[in-house]
């Protein structure tokens, strides 16, 4: 702090954290791509990438270079500005939630008192990007993917909101830091197992991951909303998807798995990040695991699952929690 004392410390803090967050998003995408391909390989009893680098470790970098080097194809009759805007719009909203995520007690850019609502608000922008991509592509398959994605996002935001509200009710705060601190005694997954399961299923659907990857259902819509995108246009969607997965899993960790809490390590205010990332990547592993196990659900079944199962259950869970809380306080 001595060197930077002539600058307002907040600006430095902002710049440093912006750089760190963006590099973390890219790093996370690299780790996830590698993990996904490697795990997919082993689930299918094949080794996955093996050629570039030891055990294919450099494969992701080579793929990234390839994507950067590729021509950005602009198909005929697309809506140019929107077609270019969509990948950016898919990428930016997933970077913003990192601002409020508490990686450990001290590692947090800004602790907003409405952090949870901020994340929920920002992450619904993702559906917008998919819609714009599908609409502007001038491709029927893309349009299908976009329409499905929007309907899916709307349906699944309701159970997520209800579940999040339940937990916020228990912790009596919307601040993510406050939520984690409320779990210092007992993780909320033990008190709210149903809420956790609902959140996880809805989270899979929110991130368009298999078995809910209807917007890019390969066997039906070839590649769905990103059919017409090539090179970096495609890879921004790709980065966005992995960052979005990370955000969804880190919220699950914050809400249910006690955030940075774990076996105490030295300098706990900072090293809590180890436990946090461990929990997040464990959840991400389960997401990958599900993807490589299940068939895809059908569109109407997806809607049924949300409206007939997840929403009633989360609503009942919410009401019971509220009643129990009132009784306990009495």
């Amino acid at each position: 702090m001595e060197i930077t004392s002539f600058l307002p410390p907040d600006i430095i803090r902002m710049i440093v954290s912006a750089v760190v967050i963006i590099s973390f998003v890219f790093l996370n995408a690299m780790v996830m791509t590698y993990a996904e391909r490697k795990l997919a390989g082993h689930f299918q009893r094949r080794p996955g990438p093996m050629e570039v680098g030891s055990h294919g470790l450099l494969q992701v970098i080579v793929d990234g270079l390839k994507l950067i080097g590729k021509q950005l194809i602009l198909p005929k009759d697309v809506d140019r500005p929107l077609f270019r805007l969509a990948p950016l719009l898919a990428f930016i909203p997933v970077v913003l939630p990192f601002i409020v995520i508490p990686f450990s007690e001290k590692l947090q850019v800004a602790d907003l008192n409405i952090g949870l609502i901020f994340i929920l608000a920002i992450s619904s922008l993702n559906g917008m990007a998919v819609l714009i991509a599908g609409w502007s592509s001038n491709n029927k398959y893309s349009l299908f993917g976009a329409l499905r994605s929007v309907a899916q996002n709307i349906a699944y935001e309701i159970p997520i909101l209800l579940v999040v509200l339940t937990v916020a009710l228990m912790a009596n705060t919307f601040s993510l830091k406050g939520l984690v601190e409320a779990q210092s005694g007992m993780w909320f997954i033990l008190l709210q197992p149903v809420a956790f399961i609902i959140y996880f299923i809805a989270g899979l659907a929110e991130t368009n991951r298999a078995p809910f990857d209807l917007s890019e259902a390969e066997s039906e819509l070839t590649a769905g909303f990103h059919t017409e995108y090539s090179g970096m246009g495609f890879s921004l969607f790709f980065l966005g998807e992995y960052a979005n997965m990370f955000v969804v899993c880190s919220i699950a960790t914050i809400l249910f798995l006690g955030g940075w809490h774990g076996i105490p390590l030295p300098f706990l205010e900072y090293t809590g990040v180890f436990w946090f990332l461990l929990k997040v990547y464990a959840l991400l592993f389960v997401m990958i695991w599900c993807r490589w196990t299940y068939p895809r659900v059908r569109f109407d079944q997806l809607m049924n699952l949300a409206w007939k199962y997840l929403i009633p259950f989360s609503l009942v869970n919410f009401i019971i929690t509220a009643i129990v809380l009132v009784i306990v306080k009495l």
């Binding site: 094949r46 029927k140 078995p211 070839t222 993807r291 299940y294 068939p295 059908r298």
Partner: protein, 371 residues
Amino acid sequence: MKSETNTQQNQSFTLNMGPQHPSTHGVLQVILEMDGEYVLDPQPVLGYIHRMHEKMGESRPCRKFLPNTGRMDYVCALPFNHGYVGLIERAAGIEVPPRAEYIRVITSELNRVASHLLWLGAFLLDLGAFTPIMYSFDDREQILDILEEITGSRLTYCYFRPGGVYQDISDKFIEGTRAFIKRMRSRFSIYEKLVATNIIFIKRAEGVGVISPDMARRYGVTGPLLRGSGISYDIRKQEPYSVYSDFDFDVPVGENGDSLDRYKVRVQEMEQSLRIIEQALDKLPEGPYLGKAPKKIKLPPGDSSFSVEAARGELAYYLVGDGSEIPYRLKIRVPSYSNLSVLPELGRGILLADLVTIMGSFDLVIPEIDR
């Protein structure tokens, strides 16, 4: 009122599915008239991979047509071989030694299991599950290794000859086949757990694409599709060719005729095929593997036909001879062609995802349809 119907009509649009689409399995094109996610009218377009196999059969000596038969249905080539050599033998009156018939049955059934395994993987891939295809390919690879040992090729077999087979089977083949049967029986439980009991799979397949027995009869549907609809019709039982009457096996049938039943029928058929192979290996007679057949086979005037049960249904060859080496007329009735013809009626008013399920459950091989 009129304008309202007009807007109703304008809501539908055309979607070209294929010829390059992940789930048309080759170069099938289906032109879909769509209303949102609903398919109003699917029309298959055939002929993208037409290679005039029948005409080629009418323009060359019958022995020289043999390699073509394996290339119509490359997934299940040996029954196609079998049908053609059976036809030549029937037309020209060639005797086949019993050992050759047993070898034909063993290899054909192995090929049927391989074909059904490929279908299982591809069907699940259509439904969006990526892993089952890798497991089924692992099993299928074992069959290909076994068949490569005696036929010399892995896919487009040309192994049967008029009067017998190309070469005798070895002890290594018999051991390998027995080991495979043992392995495959233990693998069924994996498919059961991963696929058949999975709630998502059941929801996707149950009640989707119901072919009623009446509809199946109208379109001439055969094979697992027909048996899935509850009609027990299998050429191996109905008019046993080769030595199929020597074996004890069941013909699995479904109840509802939906995609789930077709899945079940095919899995049970694999089990029955393993039973047939096991019995054939136990009973395998000694003797020559290739009987006496003239180098130049003269086809006597008159017509003859021969049907076999291929993996996808009834495969029939029909031939008219004129006393020369070259058939005067050759007609091949392939199962997938008739099976596909149900699609326009079946695909009316269903979701796009269901259409993919239905086409996956049909086990279409496009080069076979187009010939």
